[in-house]
């Protein structure tokens, strides 16, 4: 008789690990929440959460840090998904942070609310007394992330101290914190961009339409294609043209670029990604281009 060798596919292993992480949080923290941007990583996280607690509902709310500069397609998608799952959504608004004077809006053509989000995020965590916050970050995204723990400790100022991280062994996570501190939890730490797409295909989960190739009015800046929209300040020397594009990440419209593409199905997207030679952040995120250590600096301050 043939001996079974009990192999498990890569997606099953990654999913089982993410489910374990989510249950660990639900069991050991009082007030967890899941950051949901409507982007593909948070969609995958939400899917895993749905599975981890089934047939019970997801036992924590979602939080969206709304820059006010979102793609309308993504907000529409977010609201529909939240209604389907019957979960509570907390919206932390960057506009509200500006209106109450917590942050000052940048001005000029390259003004972006990207960095302001950190304050709004930390205020949202504090106001709701969240003690564990799920983020969709992956270690393959960026150098500074490669060393971040799955359970990443934040002090009472929301700061990350990369030199003083808790060792993480086996599947044992240290969840202890004092009041006012919190843990950022990254259940997708070990996933790559391709794993995320393979999972989306396997699960057949819906994603916002802007991930698929579509015709859009865009203009070029620093080699990136930005959407022509009222919230994006464009100069006269930046002519608008129509192009067939899709987005690899969904963020703030002012700093998230599109890539030219004809991929209109998940299969085609996977083929395209497998062939591309530029990381999703390098291709489409002006925020990460600022300097080689841009992400590390923002993360220390408390960014996602």
């Amino acid at each position: 008789m043939l001996q079974r060798d009990y192999t498990t596919s890569q997606l099953d292993v990654l999913e089982a690990e993410a489910i374990h992480i989510m249950r660990e949080v639900a069991a050991e923290f009082e007030r967890p929440c899941l950051l949901f941007s409507g982007g593909k990583d948070s969609i995958v996280m939400l899917r895993v959460a749905e599975k981890a607690f089934w047939p019970a509902p997801i036992p924590f709310p979602l939080m969206h840090v709304d820059t006010g500069h979102n793609f309308p397609e993504v907000i529409e998608f977010r609201d529909r998904r939240v209604a389907e799952l019957g979960v509570r959504l907390v919206v932390a608004s960057v506009q509200a942070s500006i209106d109450t004077g917590r942050v000052v809006e940048q001005t000029g053509r390259r003004a972006s609310r990207n960095r302001l989000q950190t304050t709004t995020l930390l205020d949202g965590i504090e106001d709701n007394r969240f003690d564990a916050v799920f983020g969709g970050g992956r270690r393959d995204e960026e150098k500074a992330r490669a060393k971040e723990r799955v359970f990443s400790f934040r002090d009472e100022f929301g700061q990350w101290d990369p030199k003083n991280q808790r060792p993480e062994l086996w599947n044992l996570y240290n969840t202890r914190i004092r009041t006012g501190e919190h843990i950022r939890v990254f259940p997708l730490s070990n996933w790559t961009e391709l794993d995320v797409w393979h999972y989306i295909r396997r699960e057949g989960v819906e994603i916002p339409s802007i991930y698929y190739a579509h015709t859009r009015k865009v203009f070029e800046r620093d080699g990136m294609l930005l959407a022509d929209a009222t919230v994006v300040q464009r100069g006269d020397d930046e002519p608008v043209f129509e192009a067939m594009v899709r987005y690899r990440t969904v963020g703030d419209m002012t700093c998230t670029g599109a890539v030219e593409s004809t991929a209109t199905t998940v299969d085609q997207i996977i083929d395209e990604i497998a062939a591309t030679r530029i990381t999703e952040r390098g291709a489409t995120r002006a925020d990460d281009r600022a300097s080689e250590a841009a992400m590390e600096d923002r993360k220390k301050e408390g960014y996602f």
Binding site: Y6, A16, A146, L172
Partner: protein, 420 residues
């Protein structure tokens, strides 16, 4: 496609970063923008060639000092396997980082500089990998180009290391002569070493058999979370009570007789649930939800096993401990929090039997404490019984972490040798 997790260890300048850079580069896991950034930095520093090692030096402080000082995780895939690399620094002052990286590794690559041969640190790396029970070891003898691709030199190193490894009960040991810089025997077999009959390093990583490294014999299901939907609308869901967790050992099947610990009560598995529906069986590392035939009071931290194959319910634990704290020392009477599977208790250090010199394996029985990065054999007493196996038998039910209640830091990692 499955996943292989491996750790890399080497002393400074043995070529670890170059090797990882090459594996990532040749498997196309490096993107153009990452490569450009590295090329730019190499130029700025006046390096003539593109320093692939820069790809893996993550944080700014490390970039500035030019050394790797924490575990960093890297990813690449070939059509056969997905790989997760735990890139760990090699200095003795980073023993805790190597221990961390090795804890989840299926395989460890130990780099040796062919010119220098087996050094004290190579022995230390091999010892730590076997202490953490990494099932497969690969000795990558690097910089073969600098010893004229000499078979004799390679054999010398192989013999010396084999003699040492026999003292460690290393299970599976493979030697590969490589040049990380030039790519010899990394991805493809090298024409410079026709005398070498084995496979290239990547070929070995793609094919090493790991499925049977898991414990598929002793059923261990640490209860992680109790799922109770409390549905008001659906009668079936109203009474639903499922025990969620990740299988830590053995194969569970619907209909199996099982025992609950600590109660010792037995019942049968009614169903194994997943979001997709019921499954017939569950094994490590699956995350599933069990429903049982009888109403037993079960909560997080409890263990489900088989009546004729139980872990020990122990409060006296003998373990090898790697101490990871900067300030605090481990010594008799130290009180700590212990986290083992899904159970958390308090632990008191009763005795430190010896401190191990990780370079010479000498046991210092006069030692009175363990400091940062030191390893020793310790007796602990816990406030509650833990359901344990020997670490050698099951890494998931034999490993634990220690937490300092004052700082909440993770201060130690333990591997159970014996218990009662």
């Amino acid at each position: 496609m499955d996943i292989l997790r491996f750790a890399t260890a080497g002393s400074v300048d043995d070529g670890k970063s170059t090797l990882i850079g090459r594996l990532l580069f040749d498997s196309k896991a490096i993107f153009e923008d990452q490569l450009e950034a590295v090329e730019r930095t190499s130029r700025d520093r006046g390096t003539e060639y593109t320093d692939l090692s820069l790809l893996t030096d993550g944080l700014r402080a490390e970039r500035e000092q030019g050394i790797t000082i924490d575990v960093a995780y890297r990813y690449f895939a070939t059509p056969r396997r997905k790989f997760i690399i735990a890139d760990t620094p090699g200095h003795i002052q980073y023993t805790r980082n190597m221990v961390t990286g090795a804890s989840t590794a299926d395989l460890a690559i130990i780099l040796i500089d062919a010119r220098k041969g087996v050094l004290e640190q190579s022995r230390r790396h091999a010892f730590l990998a076997t202490l953490l029970r990494v099932p497969h070891l690969v000795l990558a003898v690097n910089k073969m180009d600098l010893v004229d691709y000499s078979e004799e030199r390679f054999e010398e190193i192989r013999e010396e290391f084999t003699a040492f490894a026999s003292k460690l009960n290393a299970t599976d040991l493979t030697f590969v002569p490589i040049s990380a810089l030039h790519g010899d025997n990394v991805v493809a077999r090298s024409e410079n070493m026709p005398w070498y009959g084995g496979s290239s390093l990547l070929h070995h990583l793609e094919n090493v058999h790991i499925a049977s490294d898991r414990n598929l014999v002793d059923v261990r299901f640490p209860v992680q979370y109790v799922i109770r939907p409390h549905s008001a609308t659906s009668q079936e869901l109203h009474d639903y009570r499922g025990y969620a967790g990740q299988v830590a050992g053995g194969v569970l099947k619907a209909g199996d007789e099982v025992m609950h610990l600590p109660s010792g009560l037995t019942t049968t598995i009614k169903a194994i649930d997943t979001f997709e529906g019921r499954v017939e069986e569950a094994f490590s590392p699956m995350s599933v939800t069990l429903r049982l035939d009888d109403d037993i009071d079960i909560s997080r931290g409890d263990m489900i096993c088989r009546p004729n194959n139980q872990p020990k319910a122990a409060q006296e634990i003998e373990a090898m401990i790697c101490w990871m704290a900067d300030g605090l020392k481990l010594q008799p009477r130290t009180k700590l929090v212990i986290k083992h599977t899904t159970r958390t208790a308090r632990a008191l250090v009763r005795d430190l039997h010896y401190r191990l010199d990780v370079n010479t394996l000498h046991r210092d029985e006069t030692a009175t404490s363990l400091g940062l990065n030191e390893i020793g054999r310790v007796s602990l007493r816990t406030t509650q019984p833990l359901f344990v196996d020997e670490y050698a038998r099951n890494r998931l039910t034999g490993g634990f972490i220690l937490i300092d209640e004052a700082t909440n830091g993770t201060v130690g990692a333990g591997m159970i040798i014996d218990s009662h």
